[in-house]
Each structure stands twice: as structure tokens, then as C-alpha cells.
């Protein structure tokens, strides 16, 4: 507990040495030489050293709580220690080699301290805000100043705080690239959950939903109104093995963002084909075991996004599939094993 508390003081103290030591550097090189200047540098250096020791101690405590990229942590740790060591050496050199403190060693030490300070700050920033934080911002600055901070993360909680030399975070891929959409109506979600419909957000940070009726085989046309209010958020809709009919499905035309529609083993007929054609983001259509036949399949004007149709055990015949393939060679249509 106490270690945790002390660790949390690191952000409080860490900016003090940055300020003090940078101020010492500014005084050294931008102020005219005088006795006051020398004394002022002494004072600011001492303040910088003390605060850097404190910040380093609290930083060490913070590192014990884990959760940081080990590689970055190591760099931050050692550059911060370098700041302490170099600033102490600088002060000692200045105090005990008074006659030589204008020599190149002294100036070299000052530049080294500043460099270590910048690096320690840089690695600290990388740890806190994510790798590439600074570089990303600079790139964005060059290329018409895009919004920065997309990479902002909490300390990365890797297992056992060990090195991670790669980054597998992938942007959400797929349909509509999960465009921004308003949150779904909470009351509708609650009502659907009450009748055991699985309502599952598709991914973290999106309001698009999968609705799955696997627990509600009795789901039928009468239940469809429950999901009308959240129709825009529905992206994957699994109505397989339910009692839904063409009439119920017809009311779902507001589900404009559907990409996967599973109607397996339902009483859906050709009457729903025009509606299915209206889902202009549809990629996957499962009509296995439905009453849709060749006329329905060939009457379908699929959206340009449609990639796969599964129609085994429906009213569709091999001839219908062959004709459809000729018409739409880019759509994979799976007719299944022969009966």
C-alpha cells in the first residue's frame, strides 16, 4: 500500500527537476556572467538535484507496481538516473574546481545533463501516452496537423511487466469499419434481454450490436417491434431457428447497417427477397433451410457488398445456383452437400 502511495507521488514531483535543471541551463547560457548568476545557478542546481532524487525515488516505487513496458521503463529509469548523477557531478565540479568551471568539461556536463533530461522526459512520455506519441504528433504536424493523441493509452499492463517488442493492436476491420453511431436505446436492449435475446456489442468502443436469438426459439413477428428502436445499431442479426416470417422481417427494413443476416431454418420465403436486396451493406446471407427457391434467388438484386450466400436445404436447386453464379460470379454461393 505504502509503495503504491509513494509511487503515485512520482507525477507530482517529476516536473520539478525538469523545471529547475532546465532553468539552470537557461541561466547558464542566456544570462550575463556575474557573481549573482553563479550563486543563482548553484541554488537552482541544488533544487534540481534534490527534486530529481525525490522524483527518482518515487519513480522507482511506481515501477514496482508493474504495468509498464519493461523496455521503455529501463530507458526512462537509466536516463533519469543519469540526470541525477550528471547534475550532482556538475555541481561538485563547479564547487570544488571553481577555477575550471568555465572549461569544456563543465559545458559538456551541462549539455549532457540537458540531453539526459530530454531523453528521460521523452521515454516517460512514451510510457504514459503510448509508443510513438511524440513522433506521431510531429508527423501529424507535418501532414496538415491531424488530431493527435489517438494512441493515448493507459500504462500497458503486459504480463509480468516484460518486454513486448511488437504491437498487435489492429484497427477494427470489416464492414463499415465500425463507423461512429449513437448508443442504442437502453430500454430496447433491456426489453430484448428480458426475453433472453443475446444483445452483444461487436467490439469495444462501438455501439454496433449483434442480436442473437439462440436462446429464444420462440422469437417471432410479435417480438420484432422490440428491436425497431435499435435497428440502426444492429450489424449482425441471427434469427436462425426462430418463428420469424416474411411479415416480421418486412418491419426490419430500417436495419440499414446489417452486414450479416442469418435466417437459417425459418419460414422465410421469396416474399422477403426484395427486402434482403435493400440491405445495402450486407456481406453474409444465410438462407439454409428456408422456403426461398430458384425464383427468389434469381430475383435477388444483391448489394455490391454481398460476398457469401448459404442456401443448403432451401427450395433452391442446383440449376438456380448455376444461373446465379453466372449472373454474380463474385458472390460465393454454397449449395452444400447433395441431398
Amino acid at each position: 500500500m505504502i509503495i503504491n502511495f509513494l509511487g503515485h507521488l512520482h507525477p507530482v514531483f517529476v516536473h520539478l527537476p525538469i523545471g529547475f535543471l532546465a532553468l539552470a541551463y537557461v541561466i547558464q547560457y542566456f544570462f550575463k556572467s556575474s557573481t549573482e548568476k553563479s550563486r543563482l545557478i548553484d541554488f537552482v542546481l541544488v533544487a534540481g538535484i534534490l527534486s530529481s532524487l525525490l522524483a527518482a525515488f518515487f519513480g522507482w516505487m511506481l515501477s514496482l507496481s508493474g504495468g509498464y513496458e519493461e523496455n521503455l521503463l529501463d530507458w526512462h529509469r537509466y536516463t533519469a538516473i543519469a540526470v541525477c548523477v550528471v547534475s550532482i557531478a556538475l555541481l561538485a565540479f563547479k564547487k570544488y574546481k571553481k577555477e575550471e568551471y568555465s572549461k569544456p568539461y563543465y559545458h559538456g556536463g551541462f549539455h549532457l545533463m540537458m540531453l539526459a533530461l530530454l531523453l528521460a522526459g521523452y521515454f516517460g512520455g512514451e510510457m504514459t501516452h503510448g509508443e510513438g506519441y511524440l513522433l506521431e504528433a510531429s508527423t501529424d504536424l507535418v501532414s496538415k496537423g491531424k488530431a493527435v493523441g489517438q494512441h493515448q493509452r493507459m500504462p500497458k499492463p503486459t504480463a509480468s511487466s516484460t518486454t513486448s517488442d511488437h504491437d498487435d493492436i489492429t484497427e477494427p476491420s470489416g464492414p463499415a469499419a465500425l463507423d461512429a453511431i449513437a448508443p442504442a436505446d437502453a430500454a430496447s436492449i433491456a426489453a430484448l434481454k428480458k426475453i433472453n435475446v443475446a444483445v452483444v456489442p461487436l467490439a469495444t468502443g462501438t455501439h454496433f450490436l449483434e442480436l442473437n436469438m439462440v436462446n429464444v426459439p420462440s422469437f417471432g413477428d410479435k417480438d420484432v417491434p422490440l428491436l425497431l428502436k435499435i435497428a440502426p445499431q444492429v450489424m449482425w442479426l441471427v434469427l436462425a431457428d426462430t418463428k420469424i416470417t416474411d411479415a416480421g422481417l418486412a418491419t426490419l427494413k430500417s436495419c440499414a447497417n446489417i452486414t450479416r443476416l442469418n435466417l437459417k431454418n425459418t419460414a422465410i420465403t421469396n416474399a422477403s427477397i426484395p427486402l434482403i436486396g435493400q440491405f445495402n451493406k450486407l456481406e453474409y446471407l444465410n438462407i439454409v433451410g428456408t422456403k426461398i427457391d430458384d425464383a427468389g434467388l434469381l430475383g435477388l438484386i444483391p448489394s455490391t457488398t454481398l460476398k457469401k450466400i448459404f442456401c443448403w436445404q432451401s427450395g433452391i436447386t442446383n440449376n438456380g445456383v448455376i444461373s446465379f453464379r453466372k449472373k454474380y460470379p463474385n458472390i460465393v454461393i454454397d449449395f452444400g452437400e447433395k441431398k
Binding site: T158, S173, T206, N262, K264, D334, E337
Partner: protein, 488 residues
């Protein structure tokens, strides 16, 4: 008995009694003095644990796979007799394996005393199949038929050379048992779509072989125990005691469960032990399974041509074929993770007959499962994995005789295949050397495979972490790279 001996025995008795009294007394005293944690402390600890360890609920990003069927082939299927065609082994049959090929690969204790390591040609013939022209042996004609639907990975390698640690390593990411397996991680992280079935079901087929398999392979480790794999039995009743005893109806059962749940809740208020919640969950699940399981296990609604597709064993409960069709039925019900274990791939001797037997039991059902999932539109979001814990040596274990030979365990190179769930289809990934002994291109470590599997399910394996006993754990331990080239 002499005096000295008698004294010695008396001392032992006295020691025992004294130790017992002090030990038990100490425990009792500790309890009386209230050495245990206070209720509020336990509650606080539990709350902190819950704040740190939150299930994902939602994937990190849009998943390609929603469920997994893992056809684990225990024992170490030989890559050279199945998917990794090596003509060099035919031409160099009987010659010593070059030292440069053996390199620093581990060899097991079973061949460490062998003075000669003669190369053994595959007990199989190979043909190209599918659009990609991948080689498949004559032992797997049915899998060869689905060449265009699967992705064969010929560049797997592991760190373990013995069965138990290698199986545990493949399933949990660590060679020692005690960590959660893949199914438990997914059950914990993504939860279940189906309220009436467990999210993680395990079936071990009978008749495979005598290689044992430990239930640690489907353990939930430090995750709450209701995420461990629920094992279906191999007999006629996959879930025992499913039917209510005579004279007890469903309402009686419900009342009893509610009553027990009340007691458990009272205890949970005192102890705040997640295991009590697991007990409540498991009791509820058992109750729901009473209704759901019969419809899963009753194959009478399957058309004959579908049953035929899985092969002659399909109606025999406990066989791999039966388990495969059960896996499909469970996938249809949105069970998150179905794990099949088939043993009998450990061919230290007589590999020709051994592999024939193993493939005769598994080839047709494995292929049928993929075909069946595909025609139902399920393969699209179901990841099927077929593979074991390691491969086998390209040299003979023991003497290479005209009557036959065997192959020892080999962790340095082996083959698996995957299908559906966002994996590229009709593809052969990775390459081994001319002896199928070392991976020479596109290495896939077990942790890479696990990371890729997680990725397909929408999970960033580096972000999916559970803190236990002061350390953060993940399935891929501290390594693993997603193999993006495997993903469609």
C-alpha cells in the same frame, strides 16, 4: 522387540501425538483468536480483485470468429506421414540423419541411448490436392478433399518434448499445469451466447490409444472455476445424472436449487469467495442443461446422408466421429469453445499401422465437420483447428527394420491445419527443411498460434490479462506474435 527398539517406537508415538495435538490445537486457537480475515477485509480484497480482473465482454476489435472447435490430436501426429511431403526421405532411407540437420534440437530420453539415427521414409504416398497444390498423404483422403477450405501450417514448433508438458503448453501457454487453458480464457473473456449450455465443452474420444490425457488441459487455472471445460462422457449419457430421479419433478429440482442457492448466498455474504459464485453458476447451468442437452445429443433428426458423411462410427457415442457431429451441433447452438481430444498418435513403433488406425478414425469425421459447418454457413465464423502437441522425428526410433519402424517425439517442427473463422483457405503456410526436422520459413511458435487464434476472436492477446497472486498472466505468457499472413 528389544528395549532400544521399544523406546524408539514409543518416542515415535509420542512425537506423533504431540505433533497432532499441537498442530490441531494451533489451528483451533488461531480460529478462536480470530486470525482469519474479517468479513469486511475479505469483501475489500474481493472487490479489488474484481476491479483488476474484469472479463472483456466485448472483443477488442471486430472478430472474424465467434467460436472455436479444436480437434486436438494427442500423441504427436507425424508431419511426414500426413501433410509435409519430403521426397528426400525416400531417397535417403536408411542413411544417418546429417548432424547439421539434427543441430541443437532436443531428443527425448527414449532415443538418447541410440547410437544410430537412420532416416526413415514416410509410410505414406503423397499427391497434390486443391488449387494451391498442397501435398496430402494417402492416409488423409478426406482431408485432402477439403484442401481448398483449410490452411495447413507446416512450420509449427514448440518447446516441449514430452506429452503432458507439451499438451499443457499448447493449451495453456505454459508447460506446468495450473494456468487456464484457451477455452477457459475465452469463456471468461467473451462469455457465452447460449444461456443453456456451458461456454466450454470438452469431449475425449474413446478407442484412440492408451496415451493418457490430464484434465489439467481443460482447467480454468486461476480463473473462476465455472470457466473450466465441461467434459462430456463417452457413454450413452454424455452428461451423467441429467434425468431427475424417480419421484422428483422439475419443479422440485428448482425449489431445491433455489433453497441451496439461498444458503450459498448467505455464505457468500460472509466469505466473498468467488468459488461460491462458481458453485451457484454451475448448479444453475446443470439445471438448464437438463433441458438443453437431450436436444443436442439426440441425432435422430440428422439426415442419413449427413450421418454417412461423418463415417460409420458416427452413431457410436464416444467415438471421434460422434464427437465431431456433436461439436457441429454445439456450434450451431453458439457454444463458444468445443474441444475434442483424440489420442492415439504416439507412434514410437510400427508407425505404418499406427497412423493408418489413427487416420481411419479421424480423417473422415474431421473433413465432414468442416464440410458440414461450411454448408450451414457456420464455417464463416467458426474456427476449426486440427493439430497435436508436437511432431515426430524424421529418423527411426530404434532399429529401422524391413518390418517397420517408429518415430520419436519432435518439438522442432510439426504440422497443423486450421479452417474457417477468418483464416485464409486453400493455403499452405511455412516450410520445413528437406527432412521435416527444422522449420526454415515462417516459423510459428505455439504462442504465435495462440495469439493468432485470439486475434481471430477479436482479442488482443497482450491486453487480455488476469492478475493472480501478484502477477499478471495471459495465455501467451510473455511472447507471441499474431501471424497476419494466416488471416484472410
Amino acid at each position: 522387540m528389544n528395549e532400544l527398539m521399544k523406546m524408539h517406537y514409543e518416542n515415535k508415538r509420542r512425537e506423533f501425538l504431540r505433533g497432532s495435538v499441537l498442530g490441531l490445537g494451533g489451528i483451533a486457537m488461531g480460529s478462536l483468536l480470530g486470525c482469519g480475515s474479517k468479513n469486511a477485509d475479505r469483501k475489500a480484497v474481493q472487490q479489488v480483485a474484481e476491479e483488476i480482473n474484469k472479463p472483456l465482454v466485448n472483443p477488442h476489435f471486430l472478430p472474424k470468429a465467434k467460436r472455436v472447435i479444436y480437434l486436438f490430436q494427442g500423441g504427436g501426429p507425424s508431419q511426414m506421414e500426413l501433410f509435409d511431403y519430403k521426397p528426400m526421405l525416400y531417397s535417403m532411407h536408411g542413411q544417418e540423419i546429417p548432424a547439421s540437420v539434427v543441430g541443437k534440437n532436443r531428443i527425448s530420453g527414449m532415443v538418447s541411448n541410440q547410437y544410430s539415427f537412420p532416416l526413415a521414409m514416410p509410410a505414406a504416398t503423397f499427391k497434390q490436392h486443391g488449387a494451391a497444390g498442397g501435398y496430402f498423404s494417402d492416409h488423409v483422403p478426406h482431408i485432402a478433399e477439403i484442401a481448398d477450405d483449410i490452411c495447413v501450417v507446416r512450420s509449427m514448433f514448440t518447446e516441449q518434448i514430452n506429452h503432458e508438458p507439451a499438451v499443457i503448453f499448447t493449451q495453456t501457454g505454459n508447460q506446468l499445469s495450473g494456468r487456464p487453458c484457451i477455452g477457459s480464457w475465452l469463456s471468461y473473456g467473451l462469455g457465452s451466447m447460449n444461456d443453456n449450455l456451458p461456454s466450454f465443452i470438452v469431449m475425449v474420444s474413446k478407442g484412440g490409444g492408451d496415451q493418457p490425457i490430464s484434465s489439467a488441459a481443460w482447467s480454468s487455472g486461476f480463473l473462476p472455476s465455472h470457466h473450466q471445460g465441461v467434459q462430456f462422457m463417452t457413454g450413452n449419457e454424455p452428461v451423467p445424472f441429467l434425468n431427475n430421479p424417480e419421484g422428483i419433478d422439475r419443479m422440485d429440482r428448482r425449489r431445491a436449487l433455489d433453497f441451496i442457492k439461498g444458503f450459498n448466498n448467505i455464505q457468500n455474504e460472509v466469505w466473498h469467495d468467488p468459488e461460491i459464485e462458481s458453485q451457484i453458476n454451475q448448479s444453475e447451468m446443470a439445471y438448464k442443461m437438463q433441458m438443453a442437452i437431450p436436444s443436442i445429443t439426440d441425432l435422430s433428426d440428422e439426415p442419413q446422408h449427413i450421418l454417412d458423411m461423418y463415417g460409420p462410427d458416427v452413431m457410436t457415442p464416444g467415438t471421434f466421429a460422434h464427437n465431431c457431429i456433436m461439436a457441429r451441433r454445439l456450434a450451431e447452438k453458439d457454444v463458444r469453445f468445443v474441444q475434442l481430444y483424440h489420442l492415439g498418435w504416439d507412434h514410437h513403433g510400427s508407425i505404418a499401422s499406427g497412423i493408418k488406425r489413427a487416420t481411419s478414425l479421424t480423417d473422415q469425421p474431421s473433413a465432414a465437420l468442416v464440410k458440414d459447418l461450411k454448408q450451414r454457413g457456420l464455417l464463416d465464423d467458426t474456427l476449426v483447428v486440427w493439430g497435436g502437441e508436437f511432431g515426430r522425428t524424421s529418423f527411426s526410433q530404434g532399429k529401422l527394420t524391413p518390418e517397420g519402424f517408429g518415430r520419436d517425439h519432435h518439438p522442432g517442427c510439426y504440422s497443423i491445419w486450421m479452417a474457417g473463422g477468418g483464416v485464409k483457405s486453400g493455403m499452405v503456410y511455412g516450410e520445413s527443411d528437406d527432412f521435416a526436422h527444422n522449420v526454415v520459413k515462417d516459423k510459428v511458435h505455439v504462442h504465435d498460434f495462440q495469439a493468432t487464434m485470439m486475434h481471430l476472436l477479436g482479442i488482443d492477446h497482450e491486453q487480455f490479462i488476469y492478475k493472480s497472486q501478484g502477477r499478471r498472466y495471459r495465455l501467451t505468457d510473455v511472447s507471441g506474435n499474431v501471424i497476419h499472413n494466416l488471416i484472410a
